[in-house]
Symmetry: C2
Subunit: 433 residues, 2 copies
Amino acid sequence: MEKIAVGMLGFGTVGAGVAQLLEEHKQELQHQVGADVFLKKALVRDLEKPRTGQVNLREDQLTLEADEVLGDPEIHTVIEVMGSVDQARKYITQALQEGKSVVTANKDLMALHGAELLKIAADNHCDLFYEASVAGGIPVLRGLTEGLASDRITKMMGIVNGTTNYVLTKMSQDDRPYQEVLLEAQELGFAESDPTADVEGLDAARKVAILANLGFSMNVELSDVTVEGITSITTDDLAYCRQMGYTLKLIGLAERKHGKVELAVQPMMLPNDHPLSSVQNEYNAVYIYGEAVGETMFYGPGAGALPTATAVVSDLVTSVRNMRLGVSGQHVGEPLNEKHIKPDSEVFSKYFLRLHVKDATGTFAALTSIFAEEDVSFERLVQWPVEGMVNTAEIVIITHTTSLDVYKRLQQALHSLDVVIDIKSSYRVEGGS
Amino acid sequence: MEKIAVGMLGFGTVGAGVAQLLEEHKQELQHQVGADVFLKKALVRDLEKPRTGQVNLREDQLTLEADEVLGDPEIHTVIEVMGSVDQARKYITQALQEGKSVVTANKDLMALHGAELLKIAADNHCDLFYEASVAGGIPVLRGLTEGLASDRITKMMGIVNGTTNYVLTKMSQDDRPYQEVLLEAQELGFAESDPTADVEGLDAARKVAILANLGFSMNVELSDVTVEGITSITTDDLAYCRQMGYTLKLIGLAERKHGKVELAVQPMMLPNDHPLSSVQNEYNAVYIYGEAVGETMFYGPGAGALPTATAVVSDLVTSVRNMRLGVSGQHVGEPLNEKHIKPDSEVFSKYFLRLHVKDATGTFAALTSIFAEEDVSFERLVQWPVEGMVNTAEIVIITHTTSLDVYKRLQQALHSLDVVIDIKSSYRVEGGS
């Protein structure tokens, strides 16, 4: 049986998972591609470092020299699992220019330089696959490019960050504050020691950029994504959500209408019967709305060595098949649509608002007149006294649909209103009718 | 731009949906395949029949003669949406032998003759795609063959029949009996006027056979699937499920262990936090467990003209791409594994049992001794009097895991036990720890 050599850049947990799959699923993989795929060489930073994976590479499979991977003419596909942006970009560019196909799990890189790298791949008739960069083991990029190839995608909503979904799930289920749950998540390995990129929504934003590029066939940039994290969410907010039949999730949203798109990562309130509402703990899911197909959702593990390795090796299978058929680099095309980002006046949504106001005559009139001025009506409104605070009432509002520019003006006006003590929280409400 | 002709067998609702997508998404499809795909000819039974779709075909696009589709050398891919088994099998065989690739939505045909037709396709270097045959618009077959290509699938559980899921959802939500909800479903178009194939589980069984063939790379037959429908489910059963934190769903299950598989369609009780439990109304979902990836789920519409057409046209896109790349018929392979069906002694599960028993001294002892004899222990047991029935008690049991042969003997023993008045219901309990 023909032997096909692959190289690897980096050999951390995902790399070890890839090596394990290549070994344990050898027979199935041979059946899939009609050849024996083997890992010839992996670039590492330290040859002596003890490695914990199931599979131990032989000494001659490890190297400190990138050229032993990138410059080896026998190596057909290069798997990049080293992370980082600049170095990975340089290596991947070099691999593609050498005529090697590339499989990467690097979301930072693809969000920032995906268009550039895909162009280099096309120019060199190579494949560049990156399924593992979004939602780990869930084959959602294939879902978009192949399974829904015939449809026109209008909306994607993703729970695409496992850390924040774990934290929000536990906060809500156990009624425990953010900091406490985050600490626990760090101890359990569901959050990094520096969780900034996750909890501030940056990681999710990268995945939104990648999804939008593919789903809308449009070169959007990471900086086009509006980003808000979960750090200021309180257990009070979550309790209100539960009471009102909603679930609060950090959602990466990409929506298209009349050729213009909106890209955002924000905590959003979803009705409990929305398919994304039951996605719990560290799981990920991407909800996709297509004009013809309607609602679909892809659910699964968003991280972890073996799930991510599954996506990498499935990409590798396609890459090797394409090579054997002589059709590498044929699926990469220029984006069909020019980029147009929606202005705030075309971003429509409902909003949840929780205010502390003075419990005095005239408060309600002052408040409602501001909403009336902006022509924003209420879907729900509840008022009650705040325990332990004299003369203070809490008002919770869900608005009817309004545009973002109007809502921003409304928030300004509320802030400057004398009877409003504080805007305690404000969330976008999505997914309802 | 190159023009590529496709033909169609049948022009019902799905056919009309396909024509509509080819028309409305013309620009996107051209971008996907780099050619202009057009519907040259559709075989119909009646040229004069008024057609209700969005797209009206011209007179010269309709024909009563199959040969005008199958014998036209210009037609590259044939779309089969006529349904039926024998006629469709004959036409598809002919098309493949003429060197035409085929896209079909025909689950009956693929469940019965899939292996044979795939072989003919491979022999003639043609593609035969059938994504639309399982779970309508959900790209689950691609998920299995491409997205999870590198993994070893050990379990698939599908809600793959929209009619039964709609009926069970409404029965449970509204506490209304089967017959009443079924009638309503028929009026609303969620159930056929003859619902037998759906409610008896036969339709789901076809999809289980197709999924198992692909996911396990094993030629199973429709007759290997154990089938039980939903017709005897009562609102009482559903109430007990809710009380105990379970959801009752008609599940198509395919499980593999040590090279042997189990194939079944049955009502099964799932814990409420199982991903399939929140799949409501007419929606479908396929839950897949892979050794490496763990839990994934694909959710979406299981039927409907446009969702099904999305799957058909996405297959068409792949078929046309393959033709242009000269790689048609390359993805079809012989199954990797020989068929081995698990005997009852290797099918393990928990079971829910609801019994009416004589409310008399010794009943409990008689009952528990039978369970003890078969070495089946209780996970839960509740007893209370039955309202309106003198001297009758109801006992609800959930067993610990046991094998199917033991459970069958246990049911026999219970039936013949003097103190047991009736076994009111019995369901398999799945998806827990």
